[in-house]
Subunit: 436 residues, 2 copies
């Protein structure tokens, strides 16, 4: 992938994973009232032992992008979050700096962690005081502490955590227990089982008034630093601040095992399902575009149709990672090439691979197959170039059929292939010409 | 998919998901001593509300096969398990019977459940006593109770649960807690948090001496039936039997949310990565086959090479769901057609879609593209037929290049495409001719 950020901007607020967050201020009257500084601390020093992988899980990649970059992005896109402090182990420092650079993260400061999770968080909190290098960040009113391996946190939930923390001093996400919890004897038998309704799993994010959590860490013992698991507990013990617990959405899950990484990949793929169909002005193209829109819509893809070029559709394009070019003109590769350039310059493929599908249909029933196949070389060449820019280019060929029923079948088949390419997003098939 | 089971057998013991279980008797001396009857009860009456899906999660499909069929298969393949009693809600009865028929499950009895999980389990246990219809199953010494939505349970762990249940009266799987557990006040604040090391998540499977769990259910109260969650707790309370707790592998996870269904699909895809390369006797084919073996091996696929036809390789074939036919002869479609027939008759694609890739390479540098493209129609036709039998046929074209370096690149590209097709297993691309 091209790693140059300077030459390419990128969408300022790529959409969140689950919710349409455009109407937050209506749903949460508090939204406008975040008129105090908010920062985030992301401890990311874990070793990923549970995963059974050599790479710590926060650095495992989905679409060649480490999980921690997704988590950073989840905070970075939120306007009222000022700073994100990432705390890493010494051996991951270079890798982390590369990630920041490659994916153009802007609000991030990277610090070295301590020997335990709590020491790392405390190091992170100290970034807002006086730093030895004199470079300190503005002290936040509220600090959110989150896990690097929970990439799907949404703005609306962060807002609730932040407001509750401001009002109550501390707040934390909880979830219902999935399994019954039992106390065990040292010999491996049941001591007793807990009444599920009275307990909750304590999850992340947690929010704190900065001064409270900072004071708690200043007072806490070696044993707390070494063996404690809960920041909420420290705030309670040392500052008498009892956290407001807020039930979070299922999306707060933590990538813990290898199967969770699979799930994260699928969730991200699922999220990238909105498409934009671009047609030329000819009537046949436009008609095919609308058939595509309908057929892909029936396959749960949200599809917009643009005639001509992107033009004034920038806001639409910035929410889309799939582009379908419909054309009857085989000499359209120059146009595709322009689209690749536009997407690249807009930084559209910086965070996720963009999919670009050239749908070519012939109105002449028996135009030369050989001639069209000759284009394959050119398509493959362009696809290889595009791939370096994280844009996956595929081509689909439709033979127009006078028979309405057969034509309907061909369009359905093309739409099925399109859905497959978008869903799988497999770079190994870039440059292929598929026949509908 | 062809649903006729009568005409097609299937591998008696499809491999387990994670472990090579062939040497179980060495690792577990108890293996041979399972000389007592063992049965399974699978309560499957849940509604899947947490999933946010219309279909109860045990009936959600992966590769067009409901999750519960994977779970049934996990038990069915184990020789020392006699019977599997599946307990379903009335509205799922027909669906369940269809699943049993379609996927040729043999050891299963389906019963109607009660209004709660405990009532359903008790109904299941009664299948081994006198049934109203006079059809009772042999009473087991040990009964294993499991969740329909934990499809990845392995034989070695079931063996440990079974032996411990026989010896101690009851046994159950536990896992470390992933999150801190907190007791909450009614106002939504922390009451106290639990010391993580003293607690475990109680998971499934659980094993019981049949008479013990049956007696416990006979004695238990309406409140237990309605609100109880743990069978282990009933055995302790009513029979004084304290279960032996055994730490299970991560694979015991439960499909609870939509993202878990994504994960299940990926785990299954990951499991189906062993391939069998079939070559003709010609030297070029054999050479290419070995290059493929090496290159796919580097992509974490385990690959065996067979020369000629399946012949005596039945044991190998029965563990494989990916077949790669290498040929220089374009007139090989008859052979591919025979392979489709053989796989179908062996029931190889009954449980998972099989992938069959025709890798065609030309030693003549400039053989006619048009001629080869003419074959595309025939390949597509055959692919459509194969798809009805749950066999996904794709073709890859390689142009042999005298230049060693370029040929190396072409082979690498073919191997990359093969890996993509095997990994994605996407039926929408069946019948496509891809160019390496």
């Amino acid at each position: 992938m091209d790693t140059s950020c300077e030459s390419s901007g990128r969408p300022t607020h790529p959409a969140g994973f689950f919710a349409d967050e455009s109407d937050l201020s209506e749903r949460f009257p508090g939204h406008d009232s975040i008129d105090f500084p908010v920062a985030v601390v992301l401890p990311a020093g874990g070793s990923g032992e549970r995963m059974g992988l050599a790479t710590p899980k926060q650095f495992c990649t989905v679409f060649n992008r480490p999980l921690i970059s997704y988590t950073i992005q989840a905070f970075e896109r939120i306007s009222w979050i000022e700073n994100i402090v990432v705390v890493v182990a010494k051996e991951s420092l270079h890798l982390m700096m590369d990630i920041i650079h490659k994916f153009c993260h802007k609000k991030v400061k990277v610090l070295l962690g301590g020997s335990s999770r709590h020491r790392s968080i405390f190091n992170g909190l100290q970034a807002f005081g006086e730093m030895p290098d004199g470079k300190s960040l503005r002290k936040p009113k509220v600090v959110i502490i989150h896990d690097a391996v929970r990439p799907f946190v949404e703005e609306d939930f962060l807002l609730r955590i932040t407001i509750a923390a401001k009002e109550q001093g501390a707040s934390g996400a909880i979830r219902p227990l999935v399994s019954t919890v039992i106390a065990t004897t040292s010999e491996g038998y049941i001591d007793h089982s807990l009444e599920r309704a009275k307990y909750r799993a304590s999850e992340m994010p947690q929010g704190f008034v900065y001064d409270i959590i900072y004071q708690a860490y200043q007072q806490c013992s070696e044993s707390d630093f070494e063996f404690g698991t809960e920041c909420l507990h420290l705030a309670l013990q040392y500052c008498g601040t009892n956290a407001k617990l807020i039930e979070g959405p299922p999306a707060l899950w933590k990538v813990t095992y290898k199967k969770d990484l699979f799930a994260a990949e699928s969730v991200i793929k699922d999220f990238l399902s909105q498409a934009c169909v671009i047609t030329t002005v000819c009537a046949e193209s436009a008609e095919l575009a609308h058939r595509f829109q309908k057929s892909l819509g029936a396959r749960s893809m949200q599809v917009d149709v643009i005639s001509g070029s992107f033009g004034n559709n920038q806001p639409l394009v910035s929410k889309t990672w799939n582009f379908i070019h419909i054309t009857a003109n085989i000499a359209c590769l120059a146009e595709i090439s322009r689209t690749v350039k536009t997407l690249h310059e807009a930084g559209q493929a910086l965070l996720y691979p963009a999919v670009l599908i050239l749908v070519h249909f012939s109105v002449l029933p028996h135009s030369s197959l050989t001639e069209r196949m000759g284009q394959l070389g050119a398509i493959r060449h362009l696809a290889m170039e595009a791939k370096h820019r994280n844009i996956l280019l595929y081509a689909i060929l439709l033979n127009h059929n006078e028979n309405a029923e057969q034509w309907e079948e061909t369009v359905e088949s093309a739409s099925e292939i399109t859905t497959a390419l978008v869903k799988d997003r497999n770079p190994a098939l870039a440059g292929q010409l598929l026949v509908a």
